[in-house]
Amino acid sequence: MKLKTAEKLLSIDRRIIFLLVAAAIILPIIFPLNLPVNVTDEVRGVYNEIQQLPPGSKILVAFDYEPSSIPEIEPMAKAVLQQCFDKGLKIVGISWLELGRGNAEKVLNIVESEYKEKGDPIEYGEDYAYMGFKPGKQAMILNLGSDFKGTCKTDYRGNEVYSMPLLEGIETLGDFDYLVCLHDDSMINHWILYGHEETGIKIGSFCTAVMAPGIYANLNAGQITGIVGGLKGGSEYEKLLEYKGAATKGMDSQTVIHLLIVVFILIGNIAYLVKEHHLKKERLR
């Protein structure tokens, strides 16, 4: 490669890069590639743990993600809620993030209407309930560990939790059979530290791709049963549930954009090395 070509490549207009990125994202949505998805052990760790629970078991779902993470986390949320409702498990939702409340309400409404359309309606108060946003972060988790109902007092609709049939038998966080943590930040560390370590509740992490590498240490230590990370994890979960949702569809775009970025890095570095080589030669002269 000549020096001029290398320099041209290195000073390429960023708008061209942006156009290529846009095309890499949009085209696979219009023309799906239907790429195969392999299920990893981390994802299976969460799926199996929920799958083995008997009907009627109670699962706490922590909706701890912000609206910016909806495209990544909402498909997982829908998938895991569907798995739970199909198995007859009972769901109790909670958020310790103010904005998580809106996300929780949205996804629960979507799932509820889907079941209604299927002719198998799920009912608030019997099949699921949502406690809403509870402030206090670490203190809130510690309090849930000693007195769940006393900490929540009312659900987000204002109903008293003491009279809720769904919460019969739930005194502390440890009485739940599993905790599904939908998060886009380090909230899971607090659920592990103050929830799992204090009460022994089993936890499954459903997180954004950028958060996943950081919690492998917890997975290795046995503090969580599995990780469903990013769209990839979501698509694997959808494969286990045998349906194609938003995560599976999004994986086509993600695959192409990953490959495009790899190509960008390679071209950028080849051009850089060629330029450096020429400059070195010139200096020696």
């Binding site: 290195l10 790429l35 990893t40 609206p67 904005l99 949205k106 409404n109 000693s146 970025i261």
Partner: protein, 359 residues
């Protein structure tokens, strides 16, 4: 003054810190109760930080507007959105359980009134008979008029709707023999189980509207979403779904463009460290997508089965499970030790920055 301002906070922090430490290891009375009380206080105080946040936001943006600083237009937008969402979010939701003329489909009016008038005046007990007996005279006349003329005029509709709303306000509308086999949700069953004297008007309307919907599923529309309050369908949730979520997702999505551009321009093999990072990043990026797996599977299967460990998905899992975990554990341990030492410095009064800039 010096005592109140400097020494007292240090004494409070010292005793609180020491008591909380003891309570963690000795969960019995009185420390256990102190622990519970303190964590409940913490939750209440944490709730107030939201108020503090809003006050701080208002003060900052107000100052920007008052001084006409660059970008003060955005502050005005912030105020408008804050006021709109706050008003619609805080206001109590309107009564969504009362009926409006649009809650009965235009083409169903005639059939609904015919059934109501015919069965209502019959001898067989049922929903129509029960409602008919509770309807005021004018509403019955309106229903009869629509049934006979097959034409639902606006005054007739309004008269019947007013009568039906009166029925919806009757706490004793539901009788098991009058509404046999209708679907009742657990919420309605709960309301029906309560003493009618303890129910508020809104709850009576909610209960009866659901009963009415159960009796006439094809004629009476589903309960509408409230405009006010912060439940699904409200203005507050509309703002959340279509402005907040959309704007946040858009800003986050822009990252894809900047990451691609930055990767092309700045991710270089300048040093050994950078080269190791680049190679690892490339392997993980390809190994985490189906094409990468397919490609490396093909290569390892075609060349030699001994090279399975070089499959990109296997290498990715290795990187995530070993080098990443090792580094992360070191960070976690370091953070833990730092937290302990910082806490000890605060408890012992060595670290005082939390008391303000004077310290």
């Amino acid at each position: 003054m010096n005592f109140l301002k400097r020494k007292l906070p240090l004494i409070i922090v010292f005793f609180t810190g020491v008591i909380m430490m003891i309570a963690y290891y000795v969960p019995h009375s009185p420390f256990g109760d102190m622990w519970k009380g303190a964590s409940s206080w913490y939750m209440v105080i944490a709730g107030f930080t939201l108020v503090l946040g809003v006050v701080s936001l208002i003060r900052n943006h107000y100052r920007k507007i008052r001084l006409g600083k660059q970008g003060f237009g955005y502050s005005i937008v912030m105020f408008i959105t804050l006021i709109i969402t706050a008003i619609f979010g805080v206001l109590p939701p309107e009564n969504i359980y009362t009926l409006r003329p649009v809650d009965i489909e235009e083409e169903n009016w005639s059939a609904f009134c015919s059934t109501l008038a015919r069965k209502g005046q019959g001898e067989v007990p049922g929903p129509c008979r029960r409602i008919w007996t509770l309807l005021p005279k004018e509403a019955r006349g309106a229903a009869q008029e629509i049934a006979e003329s097959k034409n639902a005029t606006e005054p007739a509709k309004e008269s019947l709707i007013a009568g039906l709303n009166q029925v919806l306000g009757n706490p004793n509308l539901y009788r098991k023999e009058s509404f046999p086999g209708i679907y009742l949700s657990s919420r309605v069953k709960e309301l029906l189980g309560k003493d009618s004297k303890t129910l508020i008007d809104r709850e009576i309307n909610e209960m009866n509207r659901n009963v009415l919907m159960g009796a006439f599923p094809d004629d009476i529309a589903e309960i509408r979403n409230p405009m006010r309050g912060n439940k699904a369908g409200s203005v507050f949730m509309w703002v959340f779904d279509y402005i907040n979520s959309a704007a946040a997702a858009t800003v986050f999505s822009l990252l894809a463009f900047y990451i691609a551009s930055a990767a092309y321009r700045a991710f270089r093999v300048r040093t050994l460290d950078a080269t190791v990072m680049l190679i690892t990043a490339l392997i993980v990026m390809i190994g985490r997508v189906p094409y990468g797996e397919m490609f490396s599977n093909f290569l390892t299967e075609k060349i030699s089965s001994h090279l399975v460990f070089l499959r990109l998905d296997k290498l990715t899992t290795f990187f995530l499970n070993y080098p990443t975990v090792a580094a992360k554990r070191a960070i976690i341990l370091g953070m833990g030790l730092a937290m302990v030492s910082t806490s000890m410095r605060v408890i012992l009064g060595i670290e005082r920055t939390y008391m303000g800039s004077d310290e």
